[in-house]
């Protein structure tokens, strides 16, 4: 079953195209990533799906049902926005109570769900008692996640769920998102982090300047656009020119003062090359196999690097 279908959706602001004929479809149970730099149109696409913005043209279907241009997709969708969009001067618990109330969750049911959610998200009860404005970035994110889970939605849409978080907190969030997915929720997220898309998503759409450049699993994308694997050798600078000569059969490439790149080779070649160099008295300090990354995919698709800090 398709959870979401976006067909030929376009959107312009003041004459400039922000979304250009976007088409993609997402299966139930996926973790689907929209990967692209800032300004690519990720938030615009998501908000069109949610009904906050009108589309100029195109069709959107949720679980097979066509959605009119300005229909808020209530109940089925949980939304974790880019900014937290909680009530800052209410406590986390009040935020949860409020939204649960608006969704018509009964008090007894609320307690059950709340316990489950805060255990699941690892939220301390004391944190819930504080005003949201007093929480740290990671804590707010968790509370925001909790409020979008309180009505038990089938699809979770998260706009840059880990932007601005510490790397370790980010990893914890990945685990959370994966376990939400194991619970049966379809997850759609946007990100401009390569590793996030790579490690978390079952499929990725690469978006740039409002256009979908390619869609596939991370492996498929890397195979198709990532280029070859390569072997990187670290060698003392004074031996570098010598080594380049000895390796001339492998089309060596000098990457830096003490690194040589051999494209198309993998770990199987390591003993052979080590022998070749050590016989001439050149020691390799380190071998590294570099696999193509989504970074390479993005460079090959756009000619630019996708910069993430």
């Amino acid at each position: 079953m398709k959870a979401l279908e976006v067909i030929n959706v376009s959107k312009s602001y003041n004459g400039s195209k922000v979304l250009d004929n976007v088409t993609l479809s997402i299966d139930e149970g996926e973790i689907f990533g929209l990967l692209g730099p800032n300004g690519a149109g990720k938030t615009t696409l998501i908000e069109i799906v949610l009904g906050f913005r009108r589309r100029d043209s195109g069709t959107i279907k949720i679980f097979g049902r066509e959605i009119s241009s300005r229909e808020f997709n209530k109940k089925i969708i949980g939304y974790v926005p880019q900014e937290h969009l909680l009530y800052d001067n209410l406590s986390g618990l009040d935020n949860l109570r409020y939204f649960a109330g608006l969704y018509g969750v009964k008090t007894s049911e609320f307690k059950k769900r709340l316990n489950k959610i805060i255990n699941f998200l690892g939220i301390d009860e004391n944190i819930l008692k504080k005003d949201v404005s007093k929480l740290s970035g990671g804590q707010r994110r968790r509370v925001a996640l909790a409020t979008s889970l309180i009505h038990d939605p089938k699809i979770m849409i998260m706009d840059e769920p880990t932007t601005g978080l510490d790397p370790n907190v980010r990893r914890e969030f990945w685990k959370l998102i994966m376990s939400l997915n194991e619970e049966g929720k379809t997850i759609i997220l946007t990100t401009h982090y390569m590793e996030e898309a790579d490690e978390l998503c079952s499929r990725i759409a690469i978006i740039d300047n409002g256009k979908i450049l390619s869609i596939g699993t991370p492996e498929e994308l890397k195979k198709k656009y990532g280029g070859e694997e390569s072997l990187i050798l670290r060698i003392k600078t004074r031996y570098l020119d010598n080594a380049m000569e000895l390796l001339s059969n492998y089309q060596p490439e000098k990457v830096s003062e003490d690194e040589i790149k051999l494209s198309g080779l993998n770990e199987e070649y390591i003993p052979k090359i080590r022998n070749l160099l050590e016989n001439k008295g050149i020691w390799v300090d380190k071998f590294e196999v570099r696999k193509p990354s989504l970074d390479d995919v993005f460079i090959n698709l756009t000619g630019r690097r996708l910069i993430s800090e």
């Binding site: 906050f52 808020f72 939304y79 926005p81 009530y87 409020y98 939204f99 608006l102 018509g104 009505h151």
Partner: protein, 391 residues
Amino acid sequence: MKRIFYIAKYEMKMLFKTKEVLFWNIAFPIILMLLFTAIFGGGNTIVINVGIYDQDNTQISNTIIDIFNQTNVTNIVLIQNNETLYQKLSQHELDAYIIIPKGLGRNVTSGYQAILNIYIDNSDPNIADISKGIIKSIIDGFNNKTRGIYEKFIEGVGNFNKTMIEHMRAYAETLKPLFKPVKGTEKVEYKEFILTGIIGYGFLFSSMVTATASIVNERKEGTLKRLLLTPLKPIEILVGKTFSALFNTLIYTFLVLAIGIPLLQPKIHLNIPDLIIIVVLGSLSGIVIGLLISAIFRTTEGAQGFAIIIGIFLQWFIGIWFPLEMLPSYLRSLSNYIPMTYALNVVREILLYGDSIIMHIQETIYLTLFVIILYGIGGIILSRLLKTIEV
């Protein structure tokens, strides 16, 4: 229905957690009220014209006239007959007049308390307040002197029986002033005027501006998006916001009375049920205007700014700070188009003159219709807004 309750509840909770809101909505108007009373309600450098009509012509009545003559804040006009009294009154030459009735001297000398009828011209509430204060303090002075005599007498003579002492004590409070308005000038004092005016202030700020802010803030913070993703209907948002602004105004009104009554000691008729009805109507007319403003403006800053400007502007035209009769007639006709003018007027009629809401059924119906019609329009505009504006 339950969802409306949730909106109202948490909206209120947020409102009362914001210190700025508490200040501007509650503390500020009360401070204004005290400030205005201090500026316009007091003052004692004025000489007042007091007419005294001595119908008694005894030594006691002459003493009373002497005492008034000796103070330099009163200008005594002796009146010989009713004709001169009415003439002077009709020309507003007297700020007050005192009638010393026949038999007062006899009452005082035989140890009975004597009542002095004092009539105050209330056409100018400030002057009336001053006149009353001055006359009261002069009479208190007279009573103090006689009490002094009485106490010396007790000391000097010693043992008296109980009834004798009671008799003497009555003599100590010789003159009891009874203040009455001069007929045809039954105007209120400024403190009562301002206390009720401050209730009307709530229609603009606790109601109208608060209602605008309640939508504007949701748009600004982006939380409106979250609300729209819940099963709420636009009309429920409208009603929920209305209830919270309405409760806010009722709490405000209650606080104004709870603080204003002990501080200003106004003479008012606390007809709570009728007061609540008219405050609800006045508040709702403010709220619905506020909600419309929040829906009409495309930018949040525009909406918020406009609501505040309208509030600041309207406060001079609905009769909060001074009687509308003081406005030039072309401005007064503007007041007639503002529903809150009617609401505040009925608030005054109820609190100051003891009217009931039934006596103002016309204004009540007018306000109710206004509220219903504007909510109709507001409902349509708001649901259209939610469909056309990118939140």
